[in-house]
């Protein structure tokens, strides 16, 4: 919303009188495009109000100096003020009595419901954190079904619920009329209420710092202990919880680095400046480079962005009729047209999610928002769980889904495409260190004792992925041949590695391969796939000299670039999502980002945003820095290659992953014909699932 303010000339004038700017939760914004956009906005404020004092509030980070520099800009110093001595933090885990029914994969964890209910029973207030909104919905429903007497004192809080609903929950926490709240990270930021008595974390927290922050929500008074109860949802999360505890004890928290050179964010910000009174290119450039995110911007990149907002693309390229930012003639770049101003202001922001549909009762109020991709799959009469209620879809009109209360029960919960945080390096390293201790019969935390049957099985069929080794497994099944590799580098880095390995394999034989990733490793599977062994396998897994270039090449060829492009297209204004109550004219402007991507690739292949999709995917989404570090570690590791008889505990979660990507060197015709043949051979029925 600061960017929205800057898009009005009047407001910019008023902002000249600002004396102080306070940024809360800076650690959260820092590594994201929101942070990049905020840095640009702060540079504008510094130009409008030169004496302004900028203050940031942040949780513990490993790189606080860098976080400070991102607030002040590269040319100014600042002061770091630390808070009170950190309190002691105690991490407990809910350990299943027996592993027999405990899943090796999955994210829900509802089989742990009973111990959680016992833990949150009694006096006092509790926060139950989940990692996804869907999980929050399922847990909230399960808790209330088990304990209907808790109805008045239990609530749910997540980002897709209507604002009023969320506010009431926050008020309830503040005045302690609510005893239990099931929430996602929506309750991490910007919500103030006094500490609760207990904090529960369902599923992996993904990082040491995050766990520390959440634990810090508990305990009253300075100096008291913070306590958190971890609830693992599958076996390996027990290991994560133990590693997180060790990480907290050793003070090994993560760093958050600012994103660099996001051209889509820059484009959006420049249009904002153009809308808010105009900008002069040379002066704007100096201002833009007064940020951590855009210092040292290349001339060619700056010029490209100017061309993009003025002409649609580079000069002399085919973008006739394009109108967005214009040169007023006196050197000022402005947005002249009201409709373009309107659309830009409507779309400002870098939070990218699928087009959101409002959910409201047929008669009555708003419940919140759900992504269009979920609603578009439902037919009237279908039931889903949302906002803690069973809802039946009545009809969809414009961007609104009308619902009524349903009498049937369902487990269908919307899926939101929220960014999935990867497991941090610190946590991943901690997990492997624990496995090394276990393998060496050193003393280990009780979580590993619980895991003993699974760890022993992994060792028997294959091996444990201890530091200094790179574990790979080859398994054969009806689906084809699977290659599993476990670098323990977090899902983002694994996306890049998996794409790379699949790309290389598909070059040597005409095949269609699928990849899946999680935080511990990746899988490549295909029919007729014959992965190499020994030294050749190690070569296959190791990036060459030009890691970035090779990944860019295989991302461009795969579906990943198209997926990455979705966010870039939205941020840069290449797709327009529309808004509620829009007229026909707005509907005529809707095109999917995939379509835009295809058209750009065909007719403007040098388009920076297309290249940016692959490059950004590497640097930001795939965590390029981490990928390089991981590659170096993999090169220095000893390859351990096993051929287990069945899917191992490490392999199973990858096999079960819902989201898979495809890399293919077959032609479209070959693929369609092959699929049609397989479908005809499979048992006839309304569903094509095997």
């Amino acid at each position: 919303s600061l960017s929205l303010l800057l898009s009005y000339a009047d407001t910019q004038r008023q902002l000249a009188g600002v004396t102080t700017v306070v940024i809360d939760e800076w650690h959260e914004l820092l590594g994201s495009k929101r942070g990049a956009l905020l840095e640009l906005a702060l540079a504008r404020i510094r130009a409008l109000a030169p004496g302004v004092c900028i203050q940031g509030l942040s949780a513990t980070l490993a790189n606080l100096d860098e976080a400070l520099a991102a607030l002040t800009g590269p040319h100014r110093g600042g002061r770091l003020v630390r808070g009170l001595m950190p309190r002691e933090t105690v991490i407990d885990t809910v350990r299943p009595a027996t592993l027999e029914r405990f899943p090796w994969a999955g994210h829900l964890g509802l089989q742990q419901l009973q111990p959680v209910l016992e833990a949150i029973d009694g006096d006092g207030t509790t926060l139950v954190f989940t990692n996804t909104r869907s999980q929050a919905e399922r847990w909230f429903e399960a808790i209330l079904r088990a304990r209907p007497d808790w109805l008045e004192t239990t609530a749910m809080h997540h980002g897709s619920l209507d604002r009023d609903v969320r506010r009431r929950v926050e008020d309830g926490l503040r005045d302690r009329s609510l005893r239990r709240v099931v929430a996602t990270s929506s309750l991490d930021l910007g919500v103030d209420f006094s500490p609760v008595d207990r904090v529960v974390q369902v599923g992996s927290p993904k990082g040491v710092a995050r766990l520390l922050q959440r634990a810090g929500r508990s305990g009253h008074g300075p100096g008291r202990t913070s306590a958190l109860l971890c609830v693992p949802t599958h076996a390996l999360e027990l290991l994560e919880a133990a590693a997180a505890r060790r990480g907290i004890e050793a003070g090994r928290v993560e760093a958050r680095r600012p994103l660099r050179h996001c051209l889509d964010v820059l484009a959006q910000h420049l249009v904002t400046l153009a809308a808010g009174g105009g900008f002069q290119p040379d002066a704007a450039r100096v201002e833009v480079e007064d940020t951590a995110g855009f210092a040292g911007l290349a001339d060619a990149d700056w010029q490209w962005v100017l061309d993009f907002i003025r002409r649609g693309g580079q000069a002399l390229k085919g973008y006739p009729e394009f109108r967005r930012v214009i040169d007023r003639g006196d050197g000022q770049f402005i947005v002249g047209e009201r409709r373009i101003l309107q659309r830009h202001r409507m779309a400002i922001g870098t939070i990218t999610a699928d087009a959101a549909m409002t959910v409201r009762f047929v008669r009555g109020g708003r419940l919140g928002t759900i992504e269009e991709s979920f609603i578009s799959r439902l037919r009237p009469g279908d039931v889903f769980l949302f906002g803690g209620r069973m809802l039946e879809l009545a009809r969809v009109r414009d961007l609104t889904a009308y619902v009524r209360l349903a009498s049937k029960r369902t487990t269908a919960v919307p899926r939101w495409q929220g960014g999935r945080l990867p497991l941090s390096t610190e946590l991943a390293d901690g997990m492997r260190a624990l496995l090394a201790d276990y393998a060496a019969n050193e003393p280990v935390p009780p979580e590993l004792d619980t895991l003993r049957p699974i760890l022993d099985l992994q060792q028997r069929w294959s091996a444990l992925p201890v530091p200094g080794t790179l574990l790979a497994e080859t398994v054969r099944s009806r689906e084809g041949v699977h290659l599993f590799v476990y670098p323990f580098a977090g899902r983002s880095a694994h996306e890049g590695l998996a794409a790379l390995v699949a790309w290389r394999l598909s070059r040597s034989a005409r095949a269609t391969l699928h990849t899946a990733v999680n935080d511990y490793g990746f899988e490549v599977v295909g029919r007729g796939l014959e992965p190499p062994t020994g030294h050749a396998l190690h070569e296959l897994l190791l990036p060459g000299d030009d890691l970035a270039g090779e990944i860019e090449a295989c991302l461009n060829a795969g579906e990943m670039a198209r997926r990455r492009f979705r966010e870039i297209a939205r941020v840069a204004g290449l797709v327009f999502q529309g808004y509620p109550g829009q007229g026909k004219s707005a509907r005529q402007l809707q095109a999917s980002s995939g379509l835009v991507y295809d058209v750009l690739v065909r007719h403007d292949p040098d388009n920076r945003l297309v290249g940016q999709a692959a490059r950004e995917a590497f640097e930001n989404e795939l965590d390029g820095e981490r990928l390089r570090a991981v590659s170096a570690a993999m090169a220095a590791s000893r390859l351990v290659h096993c051929e287990p008889p069945r899917l191992t505990p490490l392999a199973f979660p990858l096999w079960a992953e819902r989201v898979q990507h495809r890399v293919s060197s077959e032609s479209w015709v070959e693929r369609v014909q092959a699929m049609v043949e397989r479908l005809e051979r499979a048992a006839p029925g309304p569903s094509g699932e095997s």
């Binding site: 993009f308 649609g312 693309g313 390229k317 085919g318 973008y319 006739p320 009729e321 394009f322 109108r323 967005r324 047209e337 409709r339 373009i340 659309r343 830009h344 799959r377 037919r379 279908d382 889903f384 369902t410 487990t411 269908a412 919960v413 689906e479 269609t512 699928h514 204004g573 290449l574 797709v575 327009f576 005529q588 402007l589 095109a591 999917s592 379509l595 835009v596 058209v599 750009l600 065909r602 007719h603 403007d604 388009n607 898979q660 495809r662 032609s667 479209w668 015709v669 693929r671 369609v672 014909q673 699929m675 049609v676 479908l679 005809e680 309304p686 569903s687 094509g688 699932e689 095997s690």
Partner: protein, 230 residues
């Protein structure tokens, strides 16, 4: 290998489905396309969304190819000829006119679609512009597919796409969708999206690169199976 059309029988007539997303009726030397949405990219550019040009040239070139292959003497567009009324005397309107003048020999007929309202084709297009369905037994040419008493409907509007899933593999393909009352053509325009057709009663033929491939009925994925239901 040159692109291969697929022959099907429909309402007692022989029809040819071309991989360029056009349908041929050889007995009347007629070529049908639906939903070209000419000028869509210009419309976006004028609104500040930077789509490059080039789609129109591609679409017209594809029409040239199919016209040459079939030797059709009539081209029928089943609606949504344009995407929106051009905001000025847009350059693309003239370019279509130039293309038309290179093909003096064919008859050009169009049935107006929902995107065509408020568009008046210029004289140099020499196009016969109809607001109402055109009956030519055994077919009826329309934009939006509905049942028509006078015959089997040939229509567009849906931009039909079939979704196939088998194991881990999934595909989205533009299709000619044959139903009991109507035949719906895939969208011809290069800058058009598609809407999934999941009705197992439809018999679909997918346009894939240089072929048209018949899809087994009832293999498309009904949306409900995506999410678990108890």
């Amino acid at each position: 290998m040159p692109p291969q059309p697929l022959t099907v029988d429909c309402a007692g007539e022989t029809l040819l489905l071309h991989p360029e997303r056009a349908l041929e009726w050889p007995a009347r030397s007629t070529l049908f396309v639906a939903d070209p949405h000419f000028g869509k990219d210009a419309h976006f550019r004028a609104a500040g969304i930077a789509l490059p040009e080039g789609t129109l040239a591609e679409d017209l070139a594809r029409l040239d190819i199919v016209l040459a292959r079939t030797g059709a003497t009539r081209l029928v567009i089943l609606g949504d000829v344009v995407h929106a009324r051009p905001l000025r005397a847009a350059d693309w309107v003239d370019r279509v006119g130039v293309w038309r003048s290179r093909h003096a020999d064919f008859e050009w007929l169009a049935v107006a679609g929902n995107h065509d309202t408020r568009f008046a084709p210029p004289a140099d297009w020499r196009i016969d512009w109809r607001a109402d369905p055109v009956v030519e037994a055994p077919f009826v040419f329309m934009h939006e597919p509905t049942r028509h008493p006078a015959g089997r409907v040939l229509a567009g509007h849906w931009h039909p796409v079939a979704r196939l899933r088998q194991g881990r593999d999934s595909l989205r393909l533009p299709v000619f969708a044959f139903g009991p009352d109507a035949v719906v053509l895939p969208a011809f325009g290069g800058l058009t999206g598609g809407a999934p057709v999941d009705d197992p009663a439809l018999h679909c033929y997918a346009a894939v690169e240089d072929r048209v491939i018949e899809l087994p009925s009832a293999v498309t994925v009904p949306p409900a199976t995506e999410y678990p239901r108890k």
